[in-house]
Amino acid sequence: MFAMKWRKDDLEKYVQAKEYIDTILMPLIPFQLTNDEDIGKDAFQQEIMTIFANEIEQELSGRVLLIPSYFYLKDAEKAIEVERLNQWISETENQPFNHTILLTFDPSWRKHEKELEGDLLWLPGIQTGDIHSNEMQSVIRDQISQLSEIIRSYW
C-alpha cells in the first residue's frame, strides 16, 4: 500500500523518492478547553480534518507528504501564530518542496493569508453530524475530490 504519512516506512520511501514529492500537506488544528459548548464541536472538526488529510494524501500520495498537524490555542494571538507557523514552513524548505498547503476550517486564518508562506486552503466546516452516515460520507467524498482538484491546480 502506497502512503506518504508521518511514519517510519513512509518517510524512508520519501527519502528515496523525494524528487517526485514536491507538496506538503499540513492541517491546522485549533485546541481549546475553555468553552464547554464548543469542545465537542471543535473535536468533531478535528476528526473531519483528519479524514480529509488522510484521504487527500491517499489520492495524491505520489506527490504529497502529509506532515504532523499544526496545533494552536483557538483564541491565541494570530500574529504570533503566523510567525511560528512560518517557522514550520521554512523548516520544510530544507527539502525540495515547491508547495506547502495549509488545510483549515478556521476562518480567522484568512485575514492573515498574505503573511503566510504557504497556500491556505480554507474549507467551510461541517458543523455536526454522524461521520459514519452515508450522507456524511458522500459529502466528505465530494469535498475531497474538489480539494484534490484545487491542489492539482497549484501544480
Binding site: A17, Y20, I21, G62, R141, S148
Partner: protein, 171 residues
C-alpha cells in the same frame, strides 16, 4: 504526625483502590472480548482474500470505465480501520469484465479514466502525468513502469464482488 501518617495511609489505600480498579476493568475486558467477537459481526475481521460486494450490478457495466468505491474492515497490526478501496470497472472488447486498481504503479497516486483532456481513451495520473492504455498497460515513456493491478473478481447473483488487487495479467 499521626494525622500525616493517616493521610499517607489513606493515599496509599486510594492508590491501591485505583490500581485494583484498573486491574478489575482489564479483567472484565478480557472476559468480555471473546463474547463480543462472537456476537458482533462488525468486529469480525475480513480475512485477506474475502471478496466484497461492491454494490454494482453486472448489467450496469459498460465499455466505458466507471469508478466504484467501497470500504472493507482491515486489521493491520495496531490499527483496525475501515479502508476505502476503488476500482475502474468496464467490459472489454471480448466482453470480459475488467476491474483495475486505480493506484498508479509509479508512486501511488489515484489515476482517472480520461483524467486529462489531452489523452482521451487513457487512464491518467495527475501526479507526474503517468498514462495507461485502456487495457491497463502503461504508456512507454511515462513514469509508471508496470501496468495497473487487476482485482480478483467474482460474479454472484448478478453482482460484482472484488477482492485484492493482483498484478495485471500481462505483467
Amino acid at each position: 504526625m499521626s494525622e500525616e501518617k493517616k493521610q499517607q495511609v489513606s493515599r496509599r489505600q486510594f492508590l491501591n483502590y485505583t490500581l485494583m480498579g484498573v486491574g478489575g476493568f482489564m479483567a472484565a475486558g478480557l472476559l468480555i472480548s471473546p463474547v463480543r467477537m462472537a456476537i458482533d459481526p462488525v468486529l469480525k475481521s475480513t480475512g485477506a482474500g474475502d471478496l466484497a460486494n461492491v454494490g454494482l450490478s453486472v448489467d450496469d457495466i459498460t465499455s466505458e470505465p466507471q469508478r466504484i468505491d467501497w470500504s472493507i474492515d482491515q486489521v493491520d497490526g495496531w490499527y483496525e480501520s475501515q479502508v476505502n478501496r476503488s476500482a475502474w470497472v468496464y467490459r472489454n472488447d471480448s466482453d470480459e469484465i475488467i476491474a483495475f486498481s486505480p493506484i498508479c504503479k509509479h508512486l501511488g497516486c489515484v489515476v482517472s479514466w480520461e483524467g486529462s483532456d489531452q489523452y482521451p481513451d487513457e487512464f491518467f495520473c495527475p501526479c507526474h502525468d503517468g498514462r495507461y492504455y485502456k487495457d491497463g498497460v502503461n504508456v512507454p515513456g511515462t513514469p509508471p513502469l508496470a501496468p495497473l493491478d487487476e482485482y480478483e473478481m467474482e460474479i454472484k447473483d448478478g453482482m460484482l464482488f472484488l477482492g485484492d488487487p493482483k498484478p495485471h495479467r500481462e505483467a
